[in-house]
């Protein structure tokens, strides 16, 4: 495809749209069609599972999943909820996710502040240590981690098991340690963009290091912290790997990994599994509806500098 065969553009001023973008009706229609088809394909699996969930088991058993509905019911949802103790697993998810997110953000803010504002000679090296730590596949560290978790005793008020293994505390620790790198990277990029004059002014006013961190830097990083909090909440809530490897299949598991057990439990009633899956998806869907901007902002901060 050479440039000669193409009609040269006559006018240098684009007709409508953004700067420097041509609008061609044909291209428009093709784009629309492509996106509409893609979007239909993209929502289809989710809507299909929802469709299975709102129909009685007896009916889908008889006619299959792809059939006209005779009746709709929410019984699958209420049954899944009551028969599997889902509330309990949700509570586990809360106990793991909320402390993890708060602790990660607190620790990462501190590290990022020191690495961007105090010269400790090995700033870059430390930043690399944190950043690379988050990029390792989890399976690289799981074998020794599993042994460590079996070795470290915990006081009983922290863990019923008396060990890091199979404890909510242990899951918080690994989520914090593993996500630190990403947050340090994002926050240090963000803090670099704070003008140095602000710190000069704070110094003149006699503000100590802690004040410059807590009173000046943290409030200025609020947008980044909000975006990261959204991202981390989703990631940690969705975590499956740590939960199934560092917890024996027990009652301490968060809801995402508890679903794996439910599959065995409801094997005779697939519609209930669909309903349970939909219930488990609700928190992330709420985040998606309310905080999609924040989530995407967090991803963008992590992928582009500054």
């Amino acid at each position: 495809m050479s440039a000669e065969t193409l009609p040269r553009l006559q006018a240098a001023t684009p007709a409508g749209g953004g700067p420097g973008r041509r609008r061609r009706p044909l291209g428009q229609a093709a784009s629309q069609l492509f996106l509409i088809v893609s979007c239909v394909l993209w929502v289809l699996p989710i809507l299909f599972a929802l469709y299975v969930a709102v129909r009685p088991y007896s009916e889908t058993r008889k006619y299959g999943y792809v059939s006209m509905p005779h009746s709709f019911t929410f019984k699958n949802f209420s049954d899944a909820w009551s028969q599997s103790d889902m509330l309990h697993f949700f509570w586990n998810s809360v106990l793991i996710t909320v402390p993890s997110v708060i602790i990660v953000l607190a620790l990462a803010s501190g590290v990022a502040f020191v690495l961007t504002r105090v010269n400790v000679k090995i700033n870059i090296a430390l930043l690399i240590v944190f950043t690379a730590g988050n990029l390792l596949p989890q399976q690289v560290i799981i074998t020794p981690l599993f042994r460590i978790y079996l070795k470290i005793p915990l006081p009983h008020f922290l863990a019923g098991s008396g060990l890091m293994y199979n404890s909510i505390f242990g899951l918080v620790v690994i989520n914090v340690a593993f996500q630190l790198g990403f947050c340090v990277f994002v926050l240090s990029n963000y803090m670099k963009s704070i003008p140095g004059e602000m710190y000069e002014a704070a110094l003149v006013d006699g503000a100590g290091l802690w004040t410059r961190f807590w009173r000046l830097t943290v409030p200025l990083c609020r947008p980044a912290l909000a975006a990261l909090a959204t991202l981390l909440t989703t990631w940690i809530y969705n975590d499956f790997f740590w939960a199934i490897t560092l917890m024996s299949s027990g009652d301490k598991r968060p809801v995402t990994s508890a679903l794996a057990n439910l599959q065995g439990q409801f094997v005779s009633n697939q519609n209930m599994i669909a309903a349970a899956a939909m219930i488990a998806a609700i928190p992330t869907l709420v985040v998606y509806v309310l905080l999609q901007k924040q989530f995407i902002a967090g991803l963008s901060l992590g992928s582009s500098k500054g």
Partner: protein
Amino acid sequence: MSSASQVRNPAAATTTGPQKEGPVRRRRRGVRTLSTRDRVVVALLLGIPLLLDLAFVWFPAIGTLLLSFTKWNGVGSLHPTTTCKPNLPSILNNGCVYGIQNYHQAVTISPEFWPAVRHNLIWLAVFVLIATPLGMLFAVVIDRGIKGSRMYQSILFLPVMLSLALIGIIWEFVYSQDYGLINTVIGRNHNGNSIDWLGNPHLNLWAVLLEATWRQAGYVMVLYLAGLKAVDPTLREAALVDGANAWQTFWRVIFPVMRPINIVIMVVTVIESLRAFDLVYITNKGINGLELLSVLVTSNIVGETQRVGFGSALGVVLLLISLVPISIFLYQTFRREESQ
């Protein structure tokens, strides 16, 4: 630059603008200039997270390397000075130094190793050749600012919010043998002629890869959109004035300046295909055609027979592969910092 932003307090005007002479303003303050109290603050702010990161991420990473040279079933203690004796029964050969035997076994007699490597490579190939280009295509088309682009973006992004375990469950209804969406639509849902998408070891990897692509494309799309939004619009205008068409503008002007985001996407693609675990595990525990390196590592620690050394050796294989994109990313990201 609007006229409103010109009206600032005059004091600020003296501090803006490039500083050609004098010391660099934005130099970080050294630790030595700090008071004792400030040094304690630095030590705490940096020390606690660093300790946590080293103890639970880097120490295990090094531990994987060391353990991979041992033979250990997790019971009893390790003897880092004893060498394993090849003619003893394995119950007496425990916790001893095994040399490179674990690696040797993996590549020679382990029945699952090469299939797992092959599946990981197929996974990577599908991500590189299908999921990533598809995500980029979504991003480019949406970025052209057509009607309803926000809604399209939201819909395509939806799977990224769901956990992979959940995605595995949701798709089981699509693939279900007797009642499933696909088999019903293509009329292969009767006894005897139905297609077992997730059970047939020749098909299930591709079925799961469709699920993985469904999610990954949306992820790449969002990352790429972030990169596209950061591109200077004057570049497009210049290309337009020079008479470039949309195709040329993208490949010769936009794509080259997207280098940083392309590196990020490459890292995400490789790491995600190495980390792939949840989908195959929720589908059938990662057996019967769905073996992956990540599953083998895991089954050697949470399975019935614990082969700590062997599992670690597979972890090292993952580590070595992942170091390639990680190094490229770190080099690309921190090169400029060093020169500052």
